[in-house]
Structures are given as C-alpha cells and as structure tokens.
Amino acid sequence: MNSQMWRSTNRTELIGPELLLQYSYTFIIMNNKGRILFIGPEPQGSVIESLVTRTVVIKETTAEGVSYLTNDRNNVDCVVVVHDPPKRDCMSFLETVSSEPPVIVAPDGGSSKLATRALGAGATSYVDPAAVETESNAVVDEINRCLSGETDATHESHRNITRGKREMMAHPDGTDERIEKVASMISHELRNPIQKANSGIDLARTECESAYLDEVAETLDRMDQLIDSLLDQLKHDVITPEMEPVDLAAVVDDSWYDRTSAKLVVESPLPMISAEETRLRQLLENLFRNAVEHAGETVTIRVGVIEPTERSHADDSIGLYVADDGPGIKPAQREVVFEYGYTGSEDGTGFGLGIVTEIIEAFGWDIIVTESHNGGARFEIRGIKTA
C-alpha cells in the first residue's frame, strides 16, 4: 500500500508546481523568544501590534527585515512578510531564510502563483484576505496559532511533502491542516480554469459546431475526474471506516449514474450489510465508472449476490459481484488493475480501482477480478457481513 501511496503522491507533485496561488503574508516561526518581525507598511504593522501582546518590530522592506533577522534572530518568534514587490518580496525573503523553521503562507484569493512557489520554498501557512472579514485579525489569529505551536507539528510534514502522504499525517487523529489547505488550493486553482474552459466551450458551441470542441470537453471532463480522485486521496489518506447497517440496494441505486446509455441490472435481492455508506457508494461508483470507461457507454452492468459457499456460511458473510459485458480484463492484468496509476483505457485516470482496493481493505473485504459469463469483467467482492 505504501508504494501505491507513493505513486499517487508523485502525481500530486507533478501538478503542484503548476498551481497558481497568490499570497500577501509569509510567517516564519522561530523559537519562543518573544518578538514578531513584521515586514510591511508601518500602519499595517501598527495595527497588528495593537492586536497582539508581544513586541512587534516593523521593517518597511525585505532587505531591512532580512538584515534585522540576521543580526537579531534569537529574539524573533515569528515573521510576517507582506508581499508587495519590489519593496517587499516574500520570495526573496524566503529564499534568504529558507533554512529556517516553519513558514506559513497567506494567499489573498486572487492570482496566486507566488504562494505555490513560496510553499515550495518552505512557507508554513497563509492568510486569505478574500475569505476573511478583517485581514488584520486573520493575520493575528495566524500568528497566535503559530506561537501556540499548532503549526509546528505540520511543519516537518510540509517540508517533506515529497516523502509521501502517509508521512505528512502529523496529527494523531489522522488529519493534517496543511493537507486540507493544499487540497483547497488544488481544488480552487485547477477547478476554476476547468470551469472557465468549459464555459468557453459552451459559449463557442453557440457560434459553431466542431468535433474538436467535443474532444476538448471530454478531455476537461477527464481532468475534472482526475482532480476529484486526487483530492480524495489527499483528504482521505487513511480510511478508518465506521461500519453500520447499510441498505445495499439503496446504495447501488444511488451510486448508479445515468448520464450514459449504460444499463444497470440488479439480478438478485440485495441485503442490508455492514459498511460505511459514503465509502461504499464511492466504491460502487468507481466500479460502475470503470465498467463504462472500459466497455463503452452501451455497457450492461449486472450486480448481484454471490451464492454463499460453505466457508462463507461459516463466517456469516456474503459476496457481491459487479459484472459487465465489455472486453474483459486479460488474466495477466488482473492483479495490476488494482494498483494506483494503472489504466487500461485512454479515458482512465488510474485512480478508480486503486481507491476501490483501499476501501475494500479498510472494510476487511476481499476483491478479485475474473471473467463474466459473456466475456466481460466480473469483480467479486467477498467477506461482506450482513446486518
């Protein structure tokens, strides 16, 4: 599983440098010595000073700030850098102090290329003035969080983002604020351009017909799916399901998407089972989408309960199959299809069945792929407890 996570994280890295984020403040957290160094306009620094209980040293330019920090580093707890080049350039500042402790970036919600670069240079957190009512208060909140040590635990994970997602999970409860922020950035900075491109395609269609527009639309749809999968991986690194009685028939029905001419046939009554509904729906959606991607939009997908064997009778579990009438999966590929990054389809993202495998493992179930009675793919899930 770790090697699979590596692969998915590496995909994130490929996208990361292309993210466009802007920020206005950069924080550098030092040891708990007392002062806050504010590099920015005097009036703004004074407002910050009036809101915190510590001494705020205000420097108007990056050069002055770096100079102060170089000479008096031990007396500084936290540095706030306003980005207003050329007078105040947080990138220049970060590059100068890049070997220092945690850095926090605060994007302002507009153009945000710089924030991504700053994150890469070691920034720790950021404030987004577009998402807050009072910018100064938000900056102070961030300072307080930094000084209280809340971000210390995440700093190392930030620095080591390339080491893999599991290593980034710094908090005991399995959540990482920074992962949330990165996910939010990816979400915002990639989905917005996709929306814009889709809007352009729809507007262009009112003026002309072109197969190229359809192709671009399909490509954007794939990108959107990829981003969804990527975000899901970022946010839900370790699946810890809460099993409860779930109406399998209802979830199968909910999971089915009828945007294509594909057909779903439920071949036997589906029982109440023990599962986490959200994850079960995600599992089934991925299996259904996988079938449509590989077998085409006219595929017929059959779902039913696998007749209990003696063994399954003994442990009170049932099986479920999801079979299609597509081209099937060659025996040599039946193991690798579950790995992240593997795709046998031009439209595939390589995430779908990897996610399925993770959920199956978290539920304590097993999954294999075999051949359906008409030569298509047949996924068999076993070990499902009835409820």
């Binding site: 996910a183 939010s184 900075e189 990639l190 929306q195 889709n198 352009g200």
Partner: protein, 189 residues
C-alpha cells in the same frame, strides 16, 4: 406552480466568460442579470427585484460569503446558490445559502440546482399558507358545529382551498428530482 418566466436570477462571477456561460444555461428559462463583482451585485440587489442569486464564493474584493451575509442581514427573500471551486466543508452549515455547487458546473447541474431552489422556496411558502389556513379551520371547527359550518359558503371555500393546497404540496414534493429530498419531504408528511 412556479412560473419560471417571472423569476429573475442574478449571476455574480468575476470571470466574465464563466458568468456568460451561466447566463447561456439559464437564459431560456429565467430573466438573468450578470454582475462581475460582489459590490456591483449588492447594488443590483438594492435596485432590482431579484429572486435568486448565483454567486461565486471567491472573488477579488468582496467575496461571495460577504454578499450572502448582506442578503441575510437585509432579510431579503431571495434564494441563494453559492458556486465555488472549493469542496464544501462543515462551515456550509452556517452559510446562509440554499444551494452549493462545486465547479465545474454543467448546464444540467445548474438548471437542476436553480429549479430545486425555487421549488423549495415555493414549498416553504405553500406550507406557510397551508398552516395559516389550517389554523383558521381549527378555530372555526372549535367554535361552530359542523351543521352550522355546512351552511356557510365561505367555510366551504376554505375547505376547498385547503384540499387544493394539500394536492399542490404533494405535487411539489413529487417535483423534486433528487430522490433524497423527495424522500425527506415524504417522511415529513
């Protein structure tokens, strides 16, 4: 039922092309007004009768959050749908909006969301009116005997009105394409 032609939708997105595409999606069914900033949207709300606002959450200057906070503070009877590229978080519980769409949004998704918001608004108004009539019905039936009430045409009108509203409510609930919402409404009745 809802007369779509009478409804005006205010579209607010700082990306002109995105806003124009929303206008394209909704233009056949609703009156549309487009603004490219939160500030301009508030001015539009002040000057025109708007039924629904479709607002981008993150915009330069005044964000969508601030726009919908103003709508809440001004106690405007307007349906609000937030459109954003950011996945919904737990904070949407406190957000004064009637719908939340995650970009990219297709024409179908947008039309469904707008229709659902208007349907919910219509349903709420129906229920409010139904409760008002039911209260009067209760008072009158407690005050007069059924024989006395049978002689009063106005009471017969009231009974007919209540029956029609019950049917209208049932039809409205059926109109929700999302099975979860319609299931929830059925459980309420």
């Amino acid at each position: 039922m809802i007369d779509k032609d009478d409804k005006t939708v205010l579209i607010v997105d700082d990306e002109q092309m995105v806003a124009e595409s929303y206008e394209l999606y909704l233009g056949d069914d609703y009156e549309t007004i487009v603004e490219y900033s939160g500030g301009a949207a508030l001015m539009e709300l002040d000057e025109n009768d708007i039924d629904l606002v479709l607002v981008d959450r993150r915009m330069p200057g005044m964000s969508g959050d601030v726009v919908i906070d103003h709508i809440e503070q001004w106690k405007m009877d307007i349906q609000v749908i937030m459109v954003t590229a950011v996945d919904p978080d737990i904070d949407i519980i406190d957000m004064p909006c009637d719908g939340y769409l995650t970009k990219p949004v297709s024409e179908t998704e947008m039309l469904d969301a707008v229709e659902r918001a208007f349907l919910i608004d219509y349903y709420e108004k129906l229920i409010s009116e139904y409760n008002r009539l039911s209260e009067k019905y209760e008072i009158l039936t407690a005050e007069f005997s059924s024989r006395e009430l049978a002689k009063k045409d106005r009471f017969a009108d009231l009974e007919r009105q209540i029956e029609e509203m019950e049917q209208d409510i049932a039809d409205t609930v059926e109109g929700f394409s999302d099975s979860k919402i319609s299931d929830a409404f059925r459980r309420l009745h």
